[in-house]
């Protein structure tokens, strides 16, 4: 039966063949010939230019000249000649052979030279040696690290903390662990370079809002909301973050955290707070900007800080709820793929924390000193003070620029040199001019520490007035 069925189908086919119009047959024939040609022709590679002979290729290879690996740097480039500090960078510092009072190191609580901190580090050195010889996952986790993480979590009153061995790497590894391609991050214009690198590594959409301008941020959030309504499926999987600093390194002012919290709950955005300058400075007990404003710390999703300012050690930490922090233990690049913090530095940080907890009045003292010098520096002709009155890291910018950034930098250098020659160590704030997204204007950095006496503060202020007078007028 099958055979007959087949034959019948064949007959039908032949019939159709005879009955079809001529153009139809011709078209089919052309198509069949085309297919046969394609099947047998050589594969067409898009990359190779098949018109180049071997000889031509060799000529191209001979002729090609690369750029030099690095362009030459002019000898008088301001960033090339470093200040050489002989001896410890403490309150009295020897810079380029001259003894000065230190107004340039971020040693806010004066813990760099503290005997208790040093002896804790010595004890740790005797027990563990210097290096840890491995990342946290492979026998690089010491009991000191676990203790430091517990103490930091307890101090900041969060569930968990995680430490990194390099301050820059802390926020630069934390952001890409959560924010991936396709997510949206709203970040302040004045964010520091480490945050910018973290954002670049995360490949997310970055939206900059004007510095401390909540209206601008709200406008961006509203725009995003209307975008979401057009595409709700995508909006349901796009994570959103706001990244701000507690005390901005580049401008010395504070972020308006209560308004940010309101915006967080209104637009369902998570907040990452970078507290490198405000940890150990703001708040009645030094817990940072959340204590300063009296905000519940669980409202902030992630707090990241480095231990290189107030704690006078090396490294950084992130703290928050376990739900958030635990993720970094497997996806924080600077945590998993790098050796852990040397135990002596962790022990120094623990002792510094002890001192911070036992003496909560140093924060008040520091704030008083900041206010004093902030007032004393007002009214210098030619220089304006940039920063909050309670910020221990201020900037002095030129009131009027002389035209080009290079000339501004040279002028400020003369002011700094004048001060250095008279015994006050200052430095200009250094930036990578081509790499910063929003380059701040050139400025002199003034850092206030708890060790400076009122006399020294007054001396510094009057010296700066003198320097400005003689150089800028």
């Amino acid at each position: 039966a099958a055979g007959v069925g087949q034959q019948w189908v064949l007959v039908e086919m032949v019939q159709a063949f005879y009955e079809a119009p001529a153009y139809h047959l011709i078209l089919e024939g052309i198509l069949i010939l085309w297919i046969i040609r394609l099947l047998f022709s050589k594969t067409y590679k898009l990359q190779e230019r098949s018109d180049l002979t071997l000889k031509e290729k060799e000529e191209l290879i001979e002729e090609w000249q690369p750029e030099p690996l690095v362009p030459p740097v002019p000898k008088d480039h301001p960033a090339l000649n470093y200040n050489i500090v002989s001896g410890p960078p403490t309150h009295i510092i020897t810079v380029n052979g001259k003894e000065c009072i230190n107004f340039a190191s971020f040693n806010f609580l004066g813990l760099l030279n503290n005997e208790k901190v040093k002896s804790a580090a010595q004890a740790s050195l005797k027990k563990y040696g210097v290096g840890t010889c491995g990342p946290r996952g492979f026998y690089g986790t010491f009991d000191v690290h676990l203790e430091l993480e517990e103490r930091l979590a307890k101090f900041m009153r969060t569930e968990e903390a995680i430490i990194y061995s390099y301050g820059f790497a802390t926020i630069a590894s934390a952001i890409p662990a959560y924010s991936k391609r396709g997510d949206i991050v709203f970040v302040d214009e004045a964010a520091c370079f480490a945050i910018q690198k973290g954002l670049q590594a995360s490949r997310s959409n970055i939206k900059l809002f004007k510095h401390n301008d909540m209206a601008d941020l709200e406008r961006l959030l509203k725009e995003q909301e209307s975008e979401d309504q057009k595409n709700p499926r995508k909006a349901r999987v796009t994570r959103r973050f706001i990244v701000v600093e507690g005390l901005y390194m580049n401008t010395g002012d504070i972020c308006p955290l209560p308004e940010l919290i309101k915006l967080k709950y209104k637009y369902k955005v998570r907040i990452f707070l970078e507290e490198s300058l405000s940890f150990g400075v703001l708040g009645a007990h030094g817990r940072g900007i959340t204590e300063h404003f009296g905000i519940n710390i669980d409202d902030i999703d992630l707090i990241s800080a480095n231990m290189e300012n107030s704690l006078a050690s090396i490294g950084g930490f992130c703290c928050g709820r376990s739900f958030i922090i635990d993720h970094q233990r497997l996806s924080g690049q600077g945590y998993c793929f790098s050796a852990s913090l040397p135990p002596l530095l962790a022990a120094a940080a623990i002792e510094a924390l002890n001192i911070m907890e036992d003496n909560p009045d140093i924060f008040q003292t520091l704030r008083a000193k900041c206010e004093r010098i902030h007032k004393a520096l007002q009214g210098i002709s030619g220089l304006k003070v940039v920063g909050e009155s309670f910020s221990p890291a201020l900037h002095l910018q030129l009131e009027e620029s002389c035209g080009s950034r290079e000339n501004d930098v040279k002028l400020l250098k003369r002011v700094v040199d004048y001060c250095m020659n008279s015994g006050i160590a200052l430095t200009q704030a250094r930036y990578l001019e081509k790499e910063e997204k929003c380059l701040p204007p050139p400025s002199i950095r003034v850092v206030i520490t708890v060790e400076q006496t009122e006399q020294e503060l007054d001396k510094a202020a009057s010296l700066l007035k003198e320097a400005a007078q003689s150089v800028l007028n």
Binding site: P66, V73, N107, G129, V130, R136, Y166, L345
Partner: protein, 518 residues
């Protein structure tokens, strides 16, 4: 495939690298193992979703439950269902100096590794085959520690400023001059973290319009640095010079994609010793290619500095080449010097440029003084400038230990990857259950090993990785080898299908090295 290469005089000594193929049965069983684990994973997730099983994960806050979820459920599938089961093999806390023997804090879990509690007991004198302590400088007594203690009491622990501002101490200048002398280059610069050295300096050297040719198995820091730079990245097969040459030819002949403009510069990124494979880069061939095609070479000697070469100066010394042929010599101080941090060495123009334009110099705090002192003392020791021969003795001891250990493991029948001379010894485990079992069994016998699985290695090629040290004595190695033999029999790890002819038991002598038999 076993290569013994004397490539036309480029190599002055035999180059023996072996990556034995995975036996077919083992590969099939490994895939089956992962399949079973995945099925069970789905089952457990289902049970957790329907509240049949208690969910032990940390959860989102009540007030934020309507926010977009922070983690995709699927991302964490591997974490929840495979990694959690054997999590006790990693992050083991220790409480002594990470030398040849180490003390570990005992921890137990009563809920299958979701949480750990410390019993308070300390397991003493575990033979440490996991720390990167190649030359044994992780010590709590000795010249290095004393010098570091002195500097600590003088300078303090922190620095509180960046290199370009007020953080450049005289100690840093001393260190950099010493490192430049050690490497045989014009100038060097040191940074506080090895990872950051790569991720912050590669973007300063190359940018858009440049080409980066990177090895398949490069470390995460090199990959991150390459990505952050904005240059085009092309990957060549691991240690495969034909693949590299083809990429170089194509790049120069065809130029940039689409616009056909010539590339501004080409940078080749390789490592000295690859830490997961134990292979050594074919440096003479890479340098020959680099010179022929006028490109630049960036050599990351994180694991090979101090560990290779007759005088401990790394892979350039091992092959007897000129350090000036390598454009950028990068390395870390964490492994062979017992400290922390990284360095870059090269011509003076390069280092001057990096001093001005490196991200780390402008924004990151400089190195801590006692750590700097540790590096200075240990480098002087290796060079022999401290008046003793301790450094030279350690370098030789490491080479002996390496050869001995690798040979004995191969005789026992394990599959060992990598080069004969590399102190990183990967022993193949393949199956997921054996990863956890190997780690735990070795710990029961007082030996601490490192086991690695996916995602650090390809999914079926999980391995145990031994890091040899000059501090390991022959007795320690023999004890370790005995236990590895026992565990190998217990877990059936002896997959190798070729056996080495065992050498007669006589003291190690470099000239009596026998060839392998297939």
């Amino acid at each position: 495939i076993n290569h013994i290469v004397h490539n036309g005089g480029l190599y002055k000594r035999p180059f023996n690298e072996a990556f034995e193929e995975t036996p077919m049965l083992v590969a099939v069983l490994t895939y089956v193992g992962y399949g079973v684990l995945t099925l069970f994973g789905y089952l457990r997730d289902f049970m957790r979703q329907w509240k049949i099983e208690k969910c032990q994960n940390a959860t989102e806050r009540e007030e934020q439950k309507d926010f977009v979820p922070l983690y995709q459920d699927f991302e964490n599938f591997y974490n929840r269902n495979l990694y959690m089961r054997i999590r006790d093999s990693w992050n083991r806390p220790i409480c002594s100096v990470p030398g040849a023997k180490v003390d570990m804090m005992e921890r137990v879990s009563h809920d299958y590794n979701w949480t750990f509690t410390y019993t308070g007991r300390v397991i003493k004198d575990i033979i440490n085959m996991g720390s990167y302590n190649y030359l044994g400088f992780a010590q709590k007594t000795g010249a290095c520690q004393e010098a570091a203690a002195k500097v600590l009491s003088q300078y303090g622990a922190g620095v509180c400023s960046t290199r370009q501002e007020m953080g450049n101490l005289d100690k840093h200048e001393e260190l950099e001059k010493l490192v430049a002398r050690f490497l045989g280059v014009e100038s060097a610069m040191a940074y506080g973290m090895g990872f950051a050295t790569n991720s912050m300096n590669i973007p300063a050297l190359v940018g858009k319009g440049c080409l980066i040719l990177s090895d398949e198995l490069n470390h995460a820091s090199l990959v991150l640095g390459a990505r952050l730079s904005g240059a085009t990245i092309r990957i060549f097969k691991h240690n495969n010079m034909q693949s590299l040459e083809k990429l170089l030819k194509d790049a120069i002949v065809h130029g940039q994609p689409r616009t056909r403009r010539p590339w501004k510069k080409i940078l080749i990124l390789v490592e000295g010793i690859y830490s997961m494979e134990g292979s050594i880069v074919r440096l003479p061939e890479v340098i020959a290619l680099k010179k022929k095609y006028k490109s630049y070479l960036y050599l990351d000697e994180a694991h090979s500095i101090g560990a290779l070469g007759p005088s401990g100066r790394g892979v350039v010394d091992y092959f007897g080449l000129n350090p000036e042929d390598v454009d950028v010599m990068m390395g870390t101080f964490t492994k062979s010097f017992g400290a922390a941090g990284g360095y870059i060495g090269g011509k003076k123009e390069l280092i001057d440029y990096l001093r001005t334009y490196s991200h780390s110099a402008a924004y990151a705090t400089s190195m801590s003084p006692p750590v700097v002192e540790q590096i200075i003392t240990s480098v002087k020791c290796i060079m022999g400038e401290d008046g003793t021969t301790i450094g030279k003795a350690r370098v030789q001891q490491l080479a002996e230990n390496t050869r001995y250990f690798r040979r004995r493991l191969k005789e026992m029948g394990f599959i060992i990857y990598g080069n004969e001379d590399s102190p990183v010894v990967p022993l193949m485990l393949y199956m997921p259950a054996k990863i956890g079992a190997f780690g735990r069994e070795m710990l029961k016998r007082n030996i601490g090993v490192v086991v690695v699985g996916f995602p650090a290695t390809p999914i079926i090629e999980s391995r145990a990785r031994f890091c040899l040290s000059a501090a390991h004595t022959k007795e320690m190695l023999d004890t370790a080898l005995k236990e590895i033999n026992e565990v190998g029999d217990l877990l059936q790890l002896k997959y190798s299908r070729r056996r080495l002819v065992p050498l007669l038991d006589r003291p190690f002598d470099e000239t009596t090295y026998e060839e392998t038999e297939d």
